[in-house]
């Protein structure tokens, strides 16, 4: 018996260490930031007796609540907790009712909205409940021609103002657009939609295969790759003219264009000289310059949006595709992923993170899932964002750097999904046909 005791002690301590390690992992999973602001979004009070007010007010309230909920920086108070007396103006606001349990709000957004004549008019306020001395953080009023679309726009604008103030000067994304590829008409065409999946509409009608749309930083043009007479060529769509504009043909296969952050250049992958390499052209399509010359394909370039001094791309020079980072003139290429099958890099707006799609275990006998990963460029540390849900590819950052959009097969076929950049709150945006290769721009 005496001899068993040391063995038992060793076993127990080993088990304890196991427990300890597990605890560590869990703790890190939840401690990625600080407490969010608890925000109550009161339903806006109807202002005016016009019969259309009710209809538009519902659109407005739903849009505002969903925008603020989607922002990712608030802890939204459930509407069922809110006081019954809804304030429409600052005089009707009773801070105690909103600051005390069960509401416990730190901030409250409220106001009134109504149709008067041919216009919709709203007045909105944001109050700091915990600071009764000077509660007002924000006050706004808008007036637009009466339509449901304008009610939505007003809600988007007011939400953006709140997010801008409380989110540390980063513009909200409520009015941003997503460009993507959809085959719901039978052919793969370029489409656009609002950031929340509303207002989906086709931009092109080429009856061919169009791929990888990328909007310019000012969103005036969309460059994409589509089958022309002799293979995939770059095409340019002007959103101002609402039609295709002429663009040079290079020969070979030309895919995966990407805009430089100042909108003056486009990087893309081309096989115009045989091997598939990264080229850079002016935004007009002139002056193609070759950046890489390695054996094996180089595709999917993306610029560092913060500096414009670096380009991340996918290269097969060492066998399976891996993510590389090089200077914008093509020098100093460094590999950043070590194993598996890594594609589709996307660089965060602040230049600190890379998103990419990674099959960490690839090959026969190693059934690896394809998931979205985020990597801190400076430290090369990475975190897996999607788990156990279909094949996930083509991540794209929201302009505020808080959201990620990507395509996933988890619902049975390729659809576009969105989530916060820490991997939480995943939800689909599309459901009709196959929708792929999303790209997110501010307007």
């Amino acid at each position: 018996m005496k001899r068993i005791i040391p063995v038992l002690i060793a076993l127990v301590s080993a088990f304890g260490q196991l427990l300890f390690a597990q605890q560590d992992w869990i703790r890190t999973g939840t401690n990625l930031g600080v407490e969010r602001v608890r925000l109550a979004v009161a339903d806006f009070k109807p202002g005016g007796a016009d019969p259309k007010t009710t209809e538009f007010l519902k659109v407005f309230n739903d849009t505002l609540a969903s925008d603020l909920d989607n922002a990712g920086i608030f802890d939204i108070v459930s509407k069922s907790f809110q006081p019954l007396k809804v304030p429409g103006t600052p005089q009707e606001m009773q801070l105690e009712a909103w600051g005390n349990p069960p509401v416990n709000a730190a901030m409250v957004a409220f106001g009134n909205f109504g149709v008067s004549g041919s216009d919709v008019a709203m007045q909105g306020w944001l109050f700091d409940v915990k600071n009764p001395g000077s509660p007002q953080v924000l006050g706004k009023q808008y007036r637009d021609p009466a339509s449901a679309q304008n009610a939505r726009t007003q809600a988007h604008r007011f939400a953006n103002e709140i997010i801008f103030r409380l989110g540390g000067g980063i513009p909200g994304i409520a009015e941003s657009k997503i460009f993507f590829v959809s085959d719901r008409t039978g052919h793969k065409e370029i489409w656009e939609m609002d950031y929340d999946g509303a207002n989906q509409r086709a931009l092109t009608n080429l009856d061919t295969i169009s791929l990888s749309p990328k909007a310019a930083p000012d969103s005036t043009r969309v460059v994409f790759s589509a089958f022309a007479k002799h293979g995939l060529e770059l095409h340019m769509y002007s959103r101002e003219l609402q039609r295709l504009v002429s663009f040079p043909r290079y020969g070979g296969t030309n895919v995966s264009p990407a805009w430089s952050p100042d909108g003056s250049k486009i990087a893309f992958s081309s096989s115009m000289k045989g091997d598939s390499d990264i080229y850079v052209i002016d935004a007009s399509g002139a002056n193609p310059r070759r950046l890489t010359s390695s054996k094996g394909p180089d595709v999917s370039p993306v610029w560092n949006p913060k500096t414009g001094e670096q380009i991340a791309f996918v290269s097969g020079r060492s066998g399976l595709p891996q993510i590389y980072v090089m200077a914008a003139d093509g020098t100093n290429a460094q590999r950043v992923t070590d194993t598996g099958y890594a594609v589709s890099p996307a660089w965060s707006p602040n230049g600190q993170f890379l998103l990419f799609s990674w099959m960490r275990k690839y090959g026969p006998g190693a059934p690896g899932a394809q998931d979205i990963y985020i990597m801190d460029i400076a430290s090369r540390q990475w975190v897996q964002l999607t788990h156990d849900a279909g094949r996930n590819d083509f991540p794209s950052w929201s302009p505020d750097g808080r959201h990620v959009i990507f395509q996933s097969t988890r619902s049975g076929q390729d659809e576009i999904w969105t989530m916060l950049a820490d991997g939480t709150r995943q939800r689909p945006l599309t459901s009709a046909g196959k929708n792929t290769q999303p790209n997110w721009r501010l307007k």
Binding site: L32, V34, P101, A106, F164, G169, G401
Partner: protein
């Protein structure tokens, strides 16, 4: 008796076989051991060895990788647990160790230790069940004052030096500053061998348009890596958002302290 004599005779015989058996086993296992020790190493891969691919990147734990998004540091319970009275129950709030300069407030709600009544005939009084308390509002919204930061054990705080009553008038802006700095503080930059460190005080100014300027270490912690990580946290920030429009001053000075605990 003769039979017994036979048995002893046979036992004498076993000794020889036993010796043979032991020797043969020893040779067999010894052979396996030598084979494994000497030959096995030639074609086996070392576990955790360097043969698993390029060395471009070191795969690390999820532990300290930083994501820009704020996930709630402490899950507050009041969101879900409040609606049905008594059915659900909040977890006990985490007890934060008091800061050294705080004077502990005597806790009057604590139940007094019961006197020993076991020997008396009267049954021990059942204490009123705390469990049925309506857990409204537990873990409320902002338990710490606006100028405190809690980061998984580490702390930070800030003070606005100029602008008179800036901190009280624009508490929401102070909150934004606090949140943004702590979001951009990368704890993996700190020397991992340090269990805890004294405070490092950073001062900086926020311009009218919200940009941090003149980031300086006002008082070093004595740990260079902590000082640098604190300065870098500020350098990563482009803007805190413009100062409140009705604020008359041109800029505000901020003192932000970081306290590191593993």
């Amino acid at each position: 008796m003769a039979a017994a004599g036979n048995i002893y005779f046979e036992r004498d015989d076993w000794r020889g076989s036993l010796l043979w058996s032991a020797t043969a086993h020893a040779i067999f296992f010894g052979g396996i051991f030598i084979y494994a020790a000497i030959l096995g190493g030639m074609h086996a891969e070392n576990w955790g060895g360097t043969t698993t691919g390029g060395g471009a990147m070191s795969a690390t734990l999820v532990t300290s990788a930083a994501i820009p998004l704020p996930a709630p540091d402490i899950q507050t319970e009041q969101v879900l647990s409040n609606q049905s009275k008594g059915l659900t129950q909040s977890l006990a709030p985490e007890v934060q160790p008091p800061a050294p300069e705080e004077i502990p407030i005597p806790d009057r709600t604590k139940t007094k230790p019961k006197h020993k009544q076991q020997t008396s005939i009267t049954p021990p009084r059942v204490p009123p069940p705390d469990d049925n308390r309506v857990p409204y509002g537990e873990g409320g919204p902002v338990t710490t004052p606006y100028s405190m930061v809690n980061l998984s054990g580490s702390q930070g705080g800030l003070a606005f030096n100029q602008g008179g009553d800036f901190g009280s008038r624009y508490a929401w802006y102070v909150n934004v500053v606090r949140q943004k700095v702590s979001d951009n503080w990368r704890r993996y930059e700190i020397d991992p061998s340090i269990p805890s460190a004294p405070r490092v005080y950073i001062t900086f100014e926020i311009t009218r348009s919200g940009e941090p300027q003149n980031v300086q270490v006002a008082q070093s912690s004595g740990i260079p890596s902590l000082d640098i990580s604190a300065v870098r946290a500020l350098q990563r920030i482009d803007t805190f958002g413009p100062l409140p429009p009705d604020y008359s001053g041109g800029r505000v000075s901020v003192e932000f302290w970081f306290e590191y605990k593993k």
